[in-house]
């Protein structure tokens, strides 16, 4: 037994890497079908306009053009559905305007698709798209939530008066008002959470195919959840039953949420493939990605904390305006409600909380879940508010957090905003983070930086997030129109190798490795003998996909349940072969053994017997060793932790450099430490991007100003430095693996740590708060104004 340990806890190198480093990945744009055509969309260049006329005659006559379609041609198909329904305070359902596949009568944001050209080559389709003559009559438009709510603002949808989608609330308003009335101190902060573009490196692609002999449709698409796309597109848009529609999401080059949703291009190419009897492929340009992939964040909030004279948090009041964009994307209504306001307790024992959230339509790209989804917004608000309390009252940022943390022995802990945390220890993650960051040594480093003319600052944030999404009954009661369980099929082959068919999807997370490690640990099958299959509705029974850090907590647990069934059946076969009672059979390290004896059969022997059942308990059990489990989680999982950021600002340029970043997270049991570390580093990089660099900027009319990598600042290697990652874990109590999830923690914990550090560095200039991104322009302006004032 000298084989290297490759089960749970080992930093096994990734199975998927060999194809990726050799250029043998199979991404959607790498797939081509015989007789394929190419689709190019003609999109709106106006934020809001009435469509007077569309003349496609010149485009239709252009070389190579096979077809040109507009909304008129798609009259028989449905609009893009929304997966959540939120109810307003008064009990009324949210405004849910139709999201047509191609614009009907009006365009509502720059990038709204109006027509599609399908041609023999992509170049011909592109050329012909230019020839479509569209007469648009501009309408007044609005890009921000505050403008959209003003009296007389442009009305974007007829059935959403005042541009309000819903006006929702959570918590005990009367109790919060009462606590504020007797507070010794109230600290109030207005803040914004900047709008982001997810920008997975692989642009979206959709390739529709149709078999005219069988009537079967296939969609190859860049999706995080192919079964969900099959359900949404099949049932709601194209009216195709599941057995006639296959959705394949092969290698997918990053998602971060933006590839969860069902998009217009997927429905268009699938429908057109059937209409034309030829494959139709669409590949987004990056410019199209900027104006058609769902954006993230975009909140405007006011937060108020009531405190007693000792600095105890008495009550929290939050008011948030959330930008939905021009239409409701698949998960959009859930993000600023059940993924945001329910997180406002954070790591603190604040006894009462009340939050109001108004979701607002604007003439911008739809906004939906982006890495963290709601939880980064909640964490930024809370952790900025806590540091602002320190600013206003002189409290110490460490002491006030320690004083208000949920005690270690208070779990399970019921928050005042619906969630019940099962486990956590915020004291330890903070203690270790401060040690790893050498927090105590900061004053000396600050002095050294000052001697070089630099401004140094340090900031901390603590966070709590809910992931492992989600218990179906709970989300159903909150407005979800789907269940959020997961599915695994475990197939032990006759010679003992194993194929796992999982409903989760890997687009960078490394499931082919991590999930195989679960099989190695539980069934004792060598890592090299395990295959993970994902991303094809024809091969996998069902599944809800990957987002919300759910793959291991929900999908991994479904695997554990299916493997439990394999072991239970294997015990019956072993009992028969070993002439023992089933109750006496033990299973460990891939071997079934009669307890207390050396009589044993390996899993491989049992598998062979199951498929060659000559000597077999055939009247009791079926042949074969192939089991499926559906697992619906009992609760969300609750990762938490502490991030410490140290920055240095050059006062001459206003440029902020990250000099140290330390993350200590509680992600539950770690299956592959190398992959967890990589996930956290990547999440932190996106959080630093949000805090210092990234911003999707619209002008006041709704023109997207940051619509390319030339204008939208993506984090590059020289914007970042080393990111120190460690974990201090408490186990999840309600799944057998004890796992919580690690995909989003980096992007949730880091933005307030960075801004707290920047504000700390600028203390001498009287800065109380800064919205993201903390750009050199903003910082230099503050420093320069301070200098002038001093002169």
């Amino acid at each position: 037994m000298n084989a290297p340990f490759e089960g749970i806890g080992a930093s096994v190198r990734r199975k998927e890497d060999l194809r990726f480093i050799s250029g043998r990945g199979n991404y959607t744009d790498d797939i081509n079908r015989p007789n394929q055509t190419y689709a190019v969309f003609r999109r709106s260049d106006r934020p809001h306009a009435k469509i007077i006329s569309i003349d496609t005659s010149a485009a239709k006559a252009a070389p190579g053009v096979v077809a040109v379609y507009t909304a008129e041609d798609l009259a028989a198909i449905g609009g893009l559905p929304c997966g959540w329904q939120i109810h307003s305070k008064d009990g009324s359902p949210m405004a849910e305007p139709k999201h047509p596949v191609l614009a009907e009568g009006k365009v509502r944001h720059v990038g709204d698709p109006i027509a599609v050209v399908i041609a023999e080559t992509k170049q011909q389709a592109r050329d012909a798209a230019e020839l479509i003559n569209i007469d648009l009559q501009d309408l007044p438009s609005t890009a921000t939530v505050t403008d959209a709510l003003k009296p007389g603002a442009a009305q974007i949808h007829d059935n959403a008066p005042g541009n309000v989608c819903y006006d929702w609330h959570i918590g005990d308003k009367d109790a919060v008002d009462a606590a504020f009335a007797k507070a010794a101190k109230v600290v109030k902060l207005d803040l914004e959470n900047n709008r982001l573009v997810p920008n997975a490196m692989e642009p979206r692609v959709a390739l529709g195919d149709y078999d005219r002999h069988t009537g079967d449709y296939t969609l190859f698409t860049t999706s995080q959840n192919p079964h969900v796309i099959r359900l949404l597109m099949g049932a709601f848009v194209l009216q195709l039953p599941e057995h006639k529609l296959r959705v394949v999401a092969p290698d997918v080059g990053g998602g971060f949420g933006s590839k969860i949703y069902h998009y217009a291009e997927e429905a268009t190419v699938t429908w057109a493939a059937g209409r034309l009897g030829r494959p139709v492929k669409w590949t987004a340009d990056r410019t199209e990605s900027f104006m058609s992939d769902a954006h993230g964040r975009d909140h405007v909030s006011t937060a108020e904390m009531a405190l007693d004279a000792q600095g105890n948090f008495l009550a929290l009041r939050v008011n948030t305006l959330a930008n939905m964009g021009a239409y409701l994307s698949t998960f959009a209504p859930a993000v600023p409600t059940y993924l945001y306001a329910t997180l406002l307790a954070g790591t603190y024992k604040t006894p009462v909380i009340y939050a109001e959230v108004k979701a607002v339509f604007t003439n911008t790209v739809p906004v939906d879940a982006y890495r963290g989804a709601g939880r980064p917004e909640a964490t930024f608000l809370l952790e900025r508010l806590v540091d602002t309390i320190c600013h206003d009252t002189g409290a110490d940022p460490i002491a006030i957090r320690l004083q208000n943390f949920i005690p270690k022995d208070a779990f399970p802990y019921q928050t005042p905003v619906a969630l019940q945390y099962d486990s956590g220890d915020y004291f330890t993650t903070m203690e270790v983070a401060l040690k790893n960051a050498d927090y105590a040594g900061f004053p000396a480093r600050k002095a050294a930086a000052a001697a070089k003319g630099k401004l140094r600052g340090i900031g901390i944030s603590t966070y709590l997030e809910a992931c492992g999404i989600a218990p179906s009954a709970v989300v159903g009661s909150l407005g979800a129109r789907a269940g959020l369980y997961e599915v695994a099929n475990i197939r032990v082959h006759p010679t003992g190798s194993v194929s796992v068919f999982t409903g989760t999807h890997s687009h960078g997370q490394g499931h082919e490795t991590t999930l195989a490690q679960l099989v190695t640990s539980q069934l004792g099958v060598p890592f090299s003998q395990v295959e993970i299959v994902h991303g094809d509705t024809n091969r996998i029974p069902f599944g809800m996909g990957t987002y919300g850090s759910r793959s291991l907590a929900v999908g991994g647990t479904a695997m554990v349940k299916a493997m439990d069934k394999i072991i239970a059946k294997g015990k019956k076969i072993a009992a028969h072969l070993l002439e023992a009672s089933v109750d006496d059979i033990e299973f460990a390290d891939g071997t079934f053994k009669v307890a207390g004896t050396d009589r044993a059969k390996t899993l491989g022997e049992i598998a062979l017997t199951a498929y060659v059942p000559h000597n077999y308990p055939i009247t009791e059990i079926e042949p074969g060793l192939d089991e499926t489990a559906f697992y619906d989680p009992a609760n969300f999982t609750f990762p938490g932790g502490c991030h410490v950021c140290e920055v240095e600002i050059d006062p001459e340029t206003g440029v902020t450099s990250i000099v140290n970043f330390t993350a200590v997270d509680d992600v539950g049991r770690v299956v592959n430490p190398m992959i967890v570390e990589g996930q956290v580093q990547g999440g932190v990089a996106q959080g630093i991007g949000q805090a210092l660099l990234e911003h999707a900027v619209y002008d006041s009319n709704g023109q997207l100003l940051s619509g390319s990598f030339m204008d939208y600042t993506m984090p590059r290697a020289d914007n970042l430095s080393n990111i120190s990652v460690a974990t201090e874990n408490t186990m999840c109590t309600h799944n057998p693996l004890g796992v919580k999830g690690c995909g989003e923690v980096g992007a949730i914990g880091s933005p307030p740590a960075v801004i707290n550090a920047v504000v700390n560095a600028l203390k001498q200039y009287g800065v109380r708060h800064m919205n993201m991104p903390a750009s050199p322009e903003k910082i230099w302006g503050i420093i320069n104004a301070g200098r002038k004032a001093a002169e």
């Binding site: 190198r13 990734r14 998927e16 890497d17 060999l18 194809r19 990726f20 480093i21 050799s22 250029g23 043998r24 990945g25 991404y27 744009d29 790498d30 170049q123 920008n199 997975a200 490196m201 692989e202 642009p203 290698d251 997918v252 080059g253 990053g254 971060f256 340009d285 990056r286 410019t287 687009h507 960078g508 997370q509 490394g510 190398m674 992959i675 570390e677 990589g678 996930q679 580093q681 990547g682 999440g683 932190v684 990089a685 996106q686 390319s708 990598f709 030339m710 993506m714 984090p715 590059r716 290697a717 020289d718 970042l720 080393n722 990111i723 980096g746």
Partner: protein, 161 residues
Amino acid sequence: MPQVTLTVNGKAATVEVEGRTLLVELLREKLGLTGTHVGCDTSQCGACVVHVDGNSVKACTMLAVQADGSSITTIEGLAKADGTLHPMQEMFREHHALQCGFCTPGMVMAAVDLVAKNPQGLTEEQIRHGLEGNLCRCTGYHNIVKAISAAQPLMHAKAAE
């Protein structure tokens, strides 16, 4: 249509292209070398980096006709014919320098050129600076920088053989 003759990964190829065809389109669509990716339309992301006559080039920024007569190496041609990986590929895997894999071919090709052109060795800061033309959204670059650092001695030792 113009004809382009070039050597790709050691094999000669002659292809007819439109004048506006980009080198990356020739590689992906005419030669089926889909390892080279397209991540943007403004020459910013570097997913399409290949070597043209030994220099790293963004293949989305060069017309196919400009590559006439050139010798091109793509990610598919980096490993030896027997499948032995290039040290940079090895180190990317060893140090978990990739997640979704989409930026990886361009990142690896850019890194190989960066290290090869700097036999004196590069500091972490110089590596970060050298990667300015390549975007990765998954890793935060931390492990990419580690992989390139680790590949340096291996590549230089090999070059000295």
